[in-house]
């Protein structure tokens, strides 16, 4: 009888111990990234290296800043990100530096990073997760994923629903009002605008604008003055760096509405081109610039 009691105590003890250590081993999961690659993690990543400024922003946005082990030279937002160890450029990161940081997960983008870097990291058994966002919904999914993988799923869902509400709010406000013709200039010489497939094109659409370059086949098409004059944009939005050049052209713009009414607005490039949480800020800015301070004419 006594031995039975002891054995059952031991069994209970073993079960209790298993239950205590189980949660971490229950995490052992396989994820599939945007390129269909399999990533296996036995526990939420503690040392994360980000090879894109947008991903760095997402990590800090989700409160995972202390788990960020390395960033690129171009990861400048938020301020804390600049203090993190740098692994070089986005296009040519220093693989040795990445290995020395002993990451358990490296985040990469399909567009900005080189595929051979991913292969090299795989070769030395470092887990790499590749993102490939094309639309704003993809960015929201990206934030949710990173939250999920890092064990911050709840917080990510909360924050993403907040962001989605703001996007919906802009969409609703823009409904019904007249579609404003917008020219977004990525660069001046040569003149390059945005086409379908780019985030900015989407944002113009959501905020009640009509992208004058919407007939283009490419995401960042060259645009001719003829086309611009023909479409007569009411608003011109361009990055702050080139806004002076845009304004100085005056007469060369051929009397288009945007120039006549002096509706030429600068915007911070980072908030409209980085596929991260600030894209919603970019959307709200664009809405504000399209519809003017009175918020909708």
């Amino acid at each position: 009888m006594r031995t039975r009691f002891i054995i059952s105590c031991l069994i209970v003890l073993v079960i209790l111990i298993t239950l205590i250590i189980a949660p971490s081993s229950l995490f052992a999961k396989t994820f599939t990234d945007d390129l269909g690659r399999r990533i296996e993690l036995s526990q939420p990543p503690q040392r994360i290296v980000s090879l894109a400024p947008s991903i760095t922003e997402i990590l800090f946005y989700l409160g995972l800043g202390d788990r960020v082990a390395g960033v690129t030279d171009f990861c400048d937002y938020p301020e804390e990100a600049r203090k993190k160890p740098s692994i070089g450029w986005i296009i040519s990161p220093n693989v040795e530096k990445i290995i020395l940081l002993k990451p358990d997960l490296v985040f990469v983008t399909a567009e900005g990073n080189r595929p051979d870097i991913v292969e090299t990291l795989e070769r030395v058994h470092i887990q790499v997760y590749v993102f490939n966002p094309h639309r704003i919904e993809d960015i929201m999914q990206e934030i949710l994923f990173i939250g999920e993988i890092a064990g911050q799923g709840e917080r990510a869902r909360e924050q993403v629903s907040g962001l989605s509400r703001r996007i919906e709010a802009v969409r609703k406000k823009a409904e019904g009002s007249h579609r404003v013709r917008v020219l977004y200039l990525v660069s001046m010489e040569p003149m390059i605008s945005v086409g379908p497939g780019s985030f900015i094109h989407d944002m113009i659409g959501i905020s009640g604008g009509e992208n004058v370059a919407s007939r283009a086949a490419a995401r960042y098409p060259r645009i001719e003055m003829e086309e611009i004059v023909h479409r007569d944009p009411e608003v011109i939005i361009a990055p702050s760096e080139i806004i002076e050049t845009v304004r100085s052209w005056k007469g060369r713009w051929g009397g288009i509405s945007a120039v006549k009414n002096d509706r030429i607005y600068p915007i911070d490039m980072d908030i409209v081109s980085r596929p991260g949480p600030r894209i919603v800020e970019g959307l709200e800015r664009i809405y504000g610039e399209i519809h003017g301070p009175d918020g909708g004419n």
Binding site: G88, I91, S92, N94, V95, E119, S198
Partner: protein, 354 residues
């Protein structure tokens, strides 16, 4: 086995090339090359000190414990990259030297017959192809680059055949024109794809070394050694070809046969290098000239010495490229071009062009 060949070429004369001279030159360079490999291993991301690296090497012999991370960095990242520099640099230099001889043009480099533009076109086309087609550790981009390079050389060769022969000036001009046409095509294609791909293609055009897998390295080595073997077999004929096609014909050389073989060798050498590293500039022009200044004009010596010398040069350039602005990695093509320009001007001033 001593061969006596005397030339009077401008004001320089050639020494007799004995087996002894050949062996001493090549072995001296091999030793220099090995030293360069070792020295290059010492440099990299600042956290590794030379002492640690030496003990890591010794560890392979004595079985001492060395940190996993150090071992990974040294033997999975640094060493393959250094070896790739040695092989790619050597291939480009030897091929460049050969093209200079065949085309009788001191400005010829490894890419002159459209090989680099063909490879670049391959890379651009690969951007339209789904990502999963790699094999043997080669990305789809390098496979397409390799194919593009070979196909372009073949096209350039075929369109330059005039009456059964391939005159050097004709093929040179064909190469230049095909280069231009293909680059126009590339610019057109890049204008319809989105801008981040454009940046990637532009970066590729600078030429950079990234750490290869040993499987990929073995493939490149295989093509290089095959190409070098063919070149060495025909190096005596190359010597005679430098006199001129007709002169060589009268001296008993089957000129077109040699040219075809040697072009194939050049194609293998350059295509494999460009497919992995992009078109790294100046190695193909500079190194053969420097080598000729040192050892003369006998291609039986110039080609192997260029191969080893080109390897040493690119290893040193790459070591500089990855440490000068650490953690930023400067593309090695920028370093070789920066070194090449002043060197070329120096050559011009001394009027020592071949």
């Amino acid at each position: 086995m001593s061969l006596r060949m005397t030339y009077v070429y401008r004001s320089t004369s050639m020494q007799a090339l004995t087996l002894r001279r050949w062996l001493s030159a090549v072995s001296l360079l091999m030793v220099l090359s090995l030293i360069t490999v070792f020295l290059s291993m010492l440099f990299g991301s600042d956290a590794l000190r030379p002492r640690e690296i030496i003990s890591a090497f010794l560890a392979r012999v004595t079985g001492n414990d060395v940190s996993e991370v150090t071992r990974t960095i040294l033997f999975q990242i640094r060493l393959p990259r250094i070896l790739l520099a040695a092989i790619a640099g050597g291939s480009l230099a030897a091929a460049g030297g050969m093209f200079q001889a065949i085309l009788k043009n001191p400005l010829a480099d490894a890419y002159i017959l459209g090989i680099s533009s063909g490879a670049a076109l391959g890379v651009v086309v690969s951007l339209f192809v789904p990502v999963t087609l790699g094999m043997y550790g080669f990305t789809p981009a390098s496979i397409m680059a390799f194919a593009g390079a070979l196909i372009t050389l073949y096209i350039v060769y075929r369109i330059s055949i005039v009456g059964g022969k391939v005159p050097p000036h004709t093929i040179l001009l064909s190469g230049v024109m095909i280069n231009a046409i293909i680059f126009a095509l590339i610019l057109f294609l890049t204008s319809v794809i989105n801008s981040s791909h454009l940046y990637r293609v532009f970066f590729w055009l600078l030429g950079y070394l990234s750490s290869p897998s040993y499987a990929a390295l073995a493939m490149v080595a295989l093509f290089s050694f095959l190409g070098m073997a063919i070149l060495l077999v025909h190096s005596r004929s190359l010597n005679i070809l430098t006199l001129g096609d007709e002169e060589a014909e009268t001296l008993g050389i089957n000129v077109e046969f040699v040219k075809r073989r040697v072009f194939i060798a050049g194609a293998l050498l350059v295509a494999s290098a460009v497919a992995i590293c992009g078109p790294i500039g100046f190695v193909g022009i500079m190194v053969p000239h420097a080598v000729r200044l040192l050892v003369g004009y006998d291609y039986r010596l110039v080609l192997p010495v260029s191969f080893i010398g080109g390897g040493i040069f690119l290893m040193l350039a790459d070591t500089f490229a990855r440490t000068a602005a650490s953690p930023v990695e400067i593309p090695v093509g920028i370093i070789t071009s920066l070194a090449g320009g002043p060197f070329f001007l120096y050559l011009l001033r001394k009027k020592r062009l071949v």
